[in-house]
């Protein structure tokens, strides 16, 4: 199975990464190469095997439903590329 340029374009859209036509050419070859390696897994008979989610056999620990954090807007905004009036600022979303 190969990953053609169109597919690269589709995946890049899903991943929100801009790719040029030149990028798509190169990535198509590289990703196909990786996929060919991955496809060797198709040869493994996994009938009856449960997919492994985590190697750690622990029951997810739940904490008490109390507020233990917050009230630090300056820290939260400290690394923002653009901020105003206690908000993160982004380009217009709605026309």
């Amino acid at each position: 199975m190969s990953i053609d340029k169109d597919t690269v374009g589709k995946i890049a859209r899903l991943a929100r990464i801009r790719v040029t036509e030149e990028d798509k050419e190169k990535l198509s070859a590289e990703l196909t190469n990786i996929l060919t390696m991955i496809e060797e897994l198709n040869a493994v008979d996994t009938t009856g095997v449960e997919p492994m989610t985590s190697v750690v056999q622990v029951k997810m620990h739940q904490r008490d439903d109390v507020v233990t954090d917050g009230g630090i807007p300056d820290k939260i905004l400290a690394n923002a590329p653009e901020k105003a009036a206690g908000f993160f600022v982004v380009p217009k979303v709605v026309e």
């Binding site: 995946i11 990464i17 198709n42 217009k92």
Partner: protein, 494 residues
């Protein structure tokens, strides 16, 4: 005072307690060494002033007899650990200038115990790589060179800066993270010791995430005992990490020196992989003999699904990374590129901010998780992972630890062996299976190649049996008696 940079952590702690030297002298010696070794490019961000201040505080505690467990010991901190107030980049352009407003649990634990960070160590971008040649802040150079050959060699990766710093004696220890081998392989390439503990042993809170079901923090040092001391500091349950396991942390250093008589050391036949350097295969046999001479029993074991570990990893790790790296959108932190609208901003920010290897992995990860392919690739990989894990659990019915090579070759030259991504991925063929199973793995230097480069062997243990791994590793370390120094250090001495 140059001998201050050639001590073990254990010896330095003794020296500090006996007031043979001060923490300030120890830290200053390492700062001087770091400055002299800047060409290795071990640090993305140096924190020498903070280190000097911390050393003064350490000396004050020693004077009052109130020293912390590892007070005054200078280390390098992989730039994947969020350090409050200190730039954390994950070696990526996209996090240039990012200053975390909080501290990772592991680096916090080490501060609590008095360890002093000299700087944020360089790595492959977002921990993706086996050579430290994908960092946006330049390559790291291995302080080792081939006999009679001046070419720069890679330190291994992703924790290349950490490993090189310890090998070059500019830090006494370092932190790394290991997802598919990123502690063990650079330890082998740099002739030092490193351990990836059991998954869940160390907290992942505050570590820039790559693959959440695989990432694990661990120490580098120049002896097994020093690694044990550092791991004891790093490890521990953390309620802020839901995959952190609530088990007490043993005094790992107490395992050092224990007898290996009667212990069963498994040698897995599937690790005799085509293309492995024959000197490494010979060293593997020699290592088994050394342990046999120390009283251990050598047992041949089989882990039949080993040959699928690489493929399984290259489905699961990219899948998880595509999810973890979705947060880098230029909105709340990190670099942002100008865009006409929000999506345009996302696409340009990420295209400009991520390097090639990172992009490849995000894209493959996105693909294997996409509709129509999720079951064929991602679920199939998770099923095979279960089989790989089962292999280890079965093997551990017949032995207590496994002995394998760490890497298929010694350190290679920058540019060598790097024609395509898949060739690079083969560097991790011996380390990846243990990551898939979550078992602890340690690499230590056992011999030299024909052209003078360090060669490491790997010990893999049962989950949460780091003590057994340390015990066997120490026995092997004693037998191997590896005392070689990197060529660049030898030249300085001459």
């Amino acid at each position: 005072m140059t001998n201050l940079t050639h001590m073990t952590i254990r010896a330095a702690l003794d020296g500090l307690k006996k007031k043979e030297f001060t923490a300030s002298e120890l830290v200053d010696a390492h700062i001087a060494a770091s400055e002299a070794a800047r060409h290795l490019n071990c640090y993305i961000t140096e924190t020498f002033d903070l280190a000097r201040d911390a050393a003064k505080e350490s000396d004050a505690r020693y004077a009052k007899g109130e020293a912390l467990p590892l007070d005054g010991i200078p280390i390098a901190m992989k730039d994947l650990f969020c350090t409050e107030g200190v730039q954390t980049t994950a070696a990526s352009k996209i996090l240039k200038g990012f200053i975390p407003p909080y501290e990772s649990t592991v680096s916090g634990n080490m501060k609590r115990d008095g360890l002093i960070s000299l700087g944020k160590a360089n790595l492959d971008e977002f921990a993706m790589g086996s050579s430290n040649t994908t960092s946006a802040y330049g390559h790291v150079l291995n302080p080792w060179k081939r006999e009679g050959d001046d070419r720069d060699l890679v330190p291994g990766g992703s924790s290349g800066g950490s490993a090189a710093a310890v090998a070059a004696r500019i830090a006494m220890g370092a932190t790394g993270t290991d997802t598919g081998g990123s502690i063990r392989q650079p330890a082998a390439f740099c002739g030092i010791t490193g351990i990836k503990p059991t998954y869940g042993r160390c907290s992942r809170f505050g570590i820039v995430a790559f693959a959440s079901s695989l990432d694990q923090a661990g120490p580098f040092a120049r002896t097994v005992e020093d690694c044990a001391l550092l791991l004891e500091s790093m490890a521990g349950y953390d309620p802020k990490d839901s995959t952190s396991v609530n088990l007490p942390v043993p005094r790992y250093a107490d395992a050092i020196g224990g007898s290996v008589k009667g212990l069963k050391v498994g040698v897995p036949k599937e690790y005799r992989v085509e293309g492995t350097n024959p000197e490494i295969l010979a060293l593997w046999d020699k290592g088994a003999q050394m342990l046999k001479d120390a009283g251990a029993e050598i047992v041949e074991v089989s882990l039949p699904y080993t040959k699928y570990a690489l493929q399984t990893y290259y489905v699961i790790a990219p899948a998880e990374c595509s999810s973890n790296l979705a947060r880098y959108d230029g909105v709340r932190f990190g670099q942002r590129a100008e865009g006409d609208n929000l999506i345009d901003t996302y696409e340009k920010t990420r295209a400009e901010g991520f390097g090639q290897e990172v992009k490849r992995r995000i894209l493959i990860g996105t693909y294997v998780l996409s509709a129509g392919y999720y079951d064929a690739y991602y679920n199939q990989a998770r099923r095979v992972r279960k089989l790989i894990w089962q292999d280890f659990m079965n093997a551990y019915q017949q032995c207590d630890v496994l002995l394998t090579p760490t890497a298929p070759t010694p350190a290679f030259a920058i540019g060598e062996n790097q024609q395509d991504p898949v060739t690079m991925y083969l560097n991790d063929v011996f380390t990846i299976p243990a990551s898939m199973a979550g078992v602890p793995g340690l690499s230590l230097p056992v011999g030299l190649s024909g052209d003078g480069l360090p060669l490491g062997l790997q010990l893999l243990g049962r989950p949460f049996e780091e003590e057994t791994v340390f015990k066997v590793a120490h026995a092997l370390e004693q037998a191997a008696h590896f005392t070689a120094l990197p060529q660049t250090l030898q030249r300085k001495a001459a």
